[in-house]
Symmetry: D2
Subunit: 431 residues, 4 copies
């Protein structure tokens, strides 16, 4: 959780000041992320699910213009460019028309340069607004939501960029970084957890997305949860054992995807004619490191792997309740995105549980409302609730997640066939 909250809980003025500092930090990071990218790089859209980097940068600014500047300034607000209202709306039906998602990559104008000018103009206006006038608590909530929204898109910028660059047969490198060497990992063990009533979800104070609330009781049967995530080497054993050719291991719909898409390994993995495995990363093509946390698999592959090994995926309630026991500490986790490495890293010591900074972990839970879930009124209320169907929850965080974004109660969610996220596997089993 971001340090904003520690300060912010003291007073409204303190909260506004802290949020303004955080605003500067977060907004700066998005721009820093495109260092070394060209305007052309920032325009690619390699599939409808992914968006151009330029679109992300503009959409994130649109959020602050639409939900902070417009309502705060009213008639005094001069829109930066009226056309941007439609062009950079993502899905907020309440705000009006949207440009078709699959055509975001066709927008050469506004140029990247103009989008950066848009960012700067909106940033200055927000800073002027927040520096000159006390905003209501409700408006500060929106500012804070905007910063967490920006966190989310920062991770998407990296996952989308990875896919964009991968479609280029020249396989461009985003950031130079040394490949890490295999160092060995400790054996995977299962930590036993007792049955009983537990509580999950975010409490009433501090920032959390609407879908993490309310905090509520659940009943857990006894279970065991793995001490770390599955490694590339372990997943290779599954491949070598014919995992991709044994329908009895797969969900029926997963088998259909595997067949239609020709899946033979995680996304970005390649095998050369001599059988050697490499993988495309944002730090260039790399030899597959057996001991690093494996990622870029769909829920279907995660589920099939678990079945193959005689285990299963945890539910999100199991994951959340076990996280504390596993010893993962979110703040200060040095594995989060640092501006250079964008790849899961091997644990530094035997105790590393791989909870937050390497790969997201698929859970066996569908993304549905918690008991008592309520959406906020208005367009901001469209934030999460409207996607609560046909998606599975992932927990934890990845090497592409920015600092300040994670909590144990955080619910990430994607359709079961999704592979372009840094999605890996933590196992569980019945007691």
């Amino acid at each position: 959780m971001s340090s904003v909250w520690a300060e912010g809980s003291g007073s409204v003025a303190g909260r506004q000041a802290a949020l303004l500092r955080e605003f500067g930090r977060v907004r700066h990071l998005s721009v820093a992320m495109i260092d070394g990218l060209t305007p052309e790089d920032c325009m690619i859209q390699s599939m409808p699910d992914a968006s151009p980097i330029k679109w992300h940068l503009a959409h994130l600014t649109w959020f602050f213009e639409t939900f902070v500047l417009e309502p705060s300034l009213g008639a005094d607000h001069v829109p930066f460019d009226l056309a941007f209202r439609v062009l950079f709306n993502s899905y907020y039906v309440g705000v009006g028309e949207r440009h078709p998602r699959a055509e975001r990559g066709l927008i050469s104008r506004p140029s990247l340069e103009r989008v950066l000018a848009y960012r700067q103009a909106v940033d200055e206006r927000v800073a002027a607004l927040m520096g000159s006038r006390a905003l209501s608590d409700a408006m500060l909530d929106v500012v804070e939501l905007g910063l967490h929204h920006e966190h989310q898109h920062q991770e998407l910028m990296l996952t989308d960029l990875k896919h964009h660059l991968w479609k280029n047969p020249m396989r461009p490198v985003y950031r130079d970084a040394d490949a890490l060497l295999d160092r060995g990992v400790p054996a995977m063990t299962f930590i036993a957890r007792p049955e009983g009533v537990a509580q999950i979800g975010a409490g009433d104070t501090g920032f959390a997305f609407d879908n993490e609330r309310p905090r509520h009781r659940v009943w857990l049967a006894p279970f065991g949860i793995a001490s770390r995530t599955v490694t590339c080497g372990e997943y290779l054993d599954f491949i070598d054992d014919g995992g991709y050719d044994r329908p009895e291991l797969w969900l029926s719909e997963g088998w259909d995807f595997r067949t239609r898409e020709g899946w033979r390994a995680p996304l970005y993995w390649e095998q050369d004619p001599d059988g050697r495995w490499t993988q495309f990363t944002l730090n260039g093509m790399q030899k597959l490191a057996h001991d690093e946390p494996m990622c870029h698999v769909s829920y279907f592959e995660a589920d099939a792997y678990a079945r193959w090994v005689g285990a299963r995926l945890p539910t999100e309630a199991e994951w959340e309740c076990a996280a504390a026991a596993l010893g993962g500490d979110v703040p200060g986790d040095s594995h989060l995105y640092d501006g250079t490495h964008v790849h899961p890293r091997r644990a530094d010591d035997d105790a590393a549980p791989h909870l937050y900074g390497d790969t997201w972990q698929w859970t066996q839970s569908a993304y549905l409302p918690y008991p008592g879930f309520e959406t906020a009124p208005g367009a901001v209320g469209e934030y999460n609730g409207k996607f609560m169907i046909n998606q599975m929850v992932l927990r934890g965080g990845s090497c592409a997640t920015p600092v300040g974004h994670l909590r144990a109660s955080y619910r990430n969610f994607f359709p079961a066939q999704t592979r372009w996220q840094f999605s890996g596997i933590r196992l569980a089993r019945n007691a």
Copy 2:
């Protein structure tokens, strides 16, 4: 629940005798259902999700030949026709190749007549087997599974047939029956249920599908559940209030389906140029009766309706725990399929809760394994587990469900866009 179990629990011999009687009853019903249909009617496949009646009849027989006769008789079993093994396998990968699902309507040979001969031959052999030799408990479990499997397909035969005939612009009638008149329904009330640990799922004894087990604890927050399902008249109010044109009421994916498919009302409803509503039923075209339980909506429509009315759908745990309180009694429910009426009927008295014999009720629960769920080994183990993704649970039962098939713990499941089942709406709300 079928009466087989009351007897069956006494002794193995008694169980075998009871199952044999039930075998005769259930197998006969499937054939009785095609009275009045021609071989041509029984060959239609109007969409990949639906199967020809002839295919259902053959597949149900294939089940008994493959899972009862083959293992019981071994080398003594002479297959009725070797080609049927591939042709009438539905999805059991463990049994070998399958004929493509979408091409089932192209199979003119074997003829309906030969499929009926296949049924008769297998029925005789099963009867001879069960009459002459004591089967193991495990084999009796398979026989019983086969009968419940046949129940399921009997309901599908009716829902599929409805869709098949509807595609014919002449709108053929399956069974003549009087349309029922509007008689008024009692006001919908919400029955309050307290919070606490509850148990759901089927116990260890008696027949249940694998997905209903094990019985397990859940924690329920306090909630209210509707005393009856939503009527056609109530749903018309939603339509008239622009329910199909207000994206804020819909899940995002639901809105996409509504747009792509042009949904403006439940499936089978039609509005004539003067604004009058009629509906296609297996008993012919009928004037829309305002007071009858509404059905043929997707999960997306059910969810949007609930949001419009300021309520929500129940979870499956809420539904199951509330069923007893609602007073629904499964055995003897006269609303179940009687061979003539295949349409939800209005309650006979004010207390009718519409739990089992009118329409299935969408729940807010995704179809996922219960804690401790285990699949059976072998091909029979493919029964339910492999479909546990991207489907929503429906509870209750419908006017097309045959007698002997239902339990309070029964879990029906379909993708959220499904509309050709008799699927309706029961509301719930937070306390």
Copy 3:
């Protein structure tokens, strides 16, 4: 050409009498063709391009009811069934709505029995009309068009049925017939034809479709045309030489089809694991006979084969001008459909040019209007002209073409990817 015309040219009364006799012969053949087929067989629609046999039988009757009975009888005509007007209209926009082509296989009702009653009723009324009253010349033209229309559909009934039955993995047999043995074929030679002005197309008298007219002049450069069509054995050489794997032999669009559809041989050919070739025929599965005329290839394959062999396909003008020189005689050609054999037969003697009774022959000519082409007014005018785009002309006739249907000027046409017709290859080359 049918003998009707020899008589018909004498007097109107003579023409009407001759047409009535021909009406009886042609209408009877369609019904005779379903001997041995079940109502279920007659309902299959294996792809949108093919129609169920029952639909053909009804549509052909619809033609006479709509274009002969209705205008001749006026208010005295009582429609057999009003619903048939929409159900069995194929594409005549001028006549009103049509049932969707791809859903013809879903029509179980009317039953085959009722369609046969429809045929009989309309046949009796047409016979009564023609026996009792002199029809105008224009109306007799429509009757004659209807008979040739029925000829066309008789061939389609066979090609469609072949595809329908082939989709059944049991591979049903339509007609029992001995497979013919290889007997050797004469060497293929090229007959030289001089340059100059020639005339093609049908003259003003006698029956011909509108697209064969007017007869007109063309200029032909000198060319050579093959003495016979390509055999299965010759085509196997193309396959064995990697013909399906060499893009330089193929039109670009053809290569795309070959790749997308996985073409490795003509439709209906199969190679067993030992390399032996068989083919599915309406007379059952047969060993591939090397000396028989090859068929079931697309234009793309015909064109690639010709390029491989260093030749080309003839234009339709070349074909028509060369037909006389090749010695083919249409009337009395014993290779035409005889009610039993539905497969190309090997020549009985060395001179057999394979012009009319074995396989259609793809030409290099697009299907376009002849100079001076005019469509007839009204719905009948929709007959051919509206399809004059993106189709290639085939000339000759096949083993599935009924007696009385062919002329040297006859233009058959299909999209270049079509393979379910009896379409083969005759080569040509530049002088």
Copy 4:
């Protein structure tokens, strides 16, 4: 026709010198065309049929590197970048692998800057080669082919760019230019042409594409050809008369396209709520000028318009034979692309026949080989022949055609549904 040939016919040395000058002129024009465009503009690919401007620029350079530098320099040729061989090959199967056409818009690297460096490097090497050494006649033929290939792509750059920019809701302007005012057009008359043997196609000398040869005889029936093309105002009459709603005017396949694509007017035309028509042009949004030549219609629309007006489209032989009579003079036609206006212009005087500089004119002829057509051996031979199926010939030239590219024998070709080219209508009729 380019002036190269007047000189070139004298001597090989003279031809080489003239070609080198032309090389400079043509290669410069392609780069001049992107003045005012950003690298982002040059990366858009709005549909698979259109390519990014950057891709065009690179592919045109690839042609000279692959077909001129490589064979001429042999081992001395150092490829500019090995990856470009795959990346910028369009369809030459003989040259090896190609990057998927639909993914050309995903290539951010190489950057536009690097592609321009590629152009410059190859231009310098070609100039050095041609300045230092006498090339063979065959190699000079390839150079000349490369220049005409570049002409073709220059026109595509404009048509593709128009589509790319149109997909941006901000509707960017490529070149500022005044809209032209309506000035009136002379009445359309039909020039009568006699029957007889005529010759069409390119002769043996001078440059022409392979598909224009050999020159050959055709027989023409008497016909009339329109003195000018159809105007926007005339086409509006067709729209206002319900032309888009009358299936009897349309080819069957055309009607399907119209329905599926929702065609209500030519591409780029828009009607505001008050009924006023505007059109998107490369010179910005403009009021529809009634007297200007209409364009951006498919063959299907051109054909339906002709049928509506009681005429037809000319064949390509009719067009070519009539061109001289119509008085169009190719060289010096000031309507060709001048670097600013990219829109059909109204005739300057009554005699303007609109043959070459306004819009391409659909003909009724399918794109097929001329009698005696032979493809060149090797990869260059893939130039035109492999596309000879399912395309219709257009004749003339458009406002986007560069100077030096046209001849009366020129055959342009596109699928019948194509609308993004500057394609208009010239009528013909039977005598």
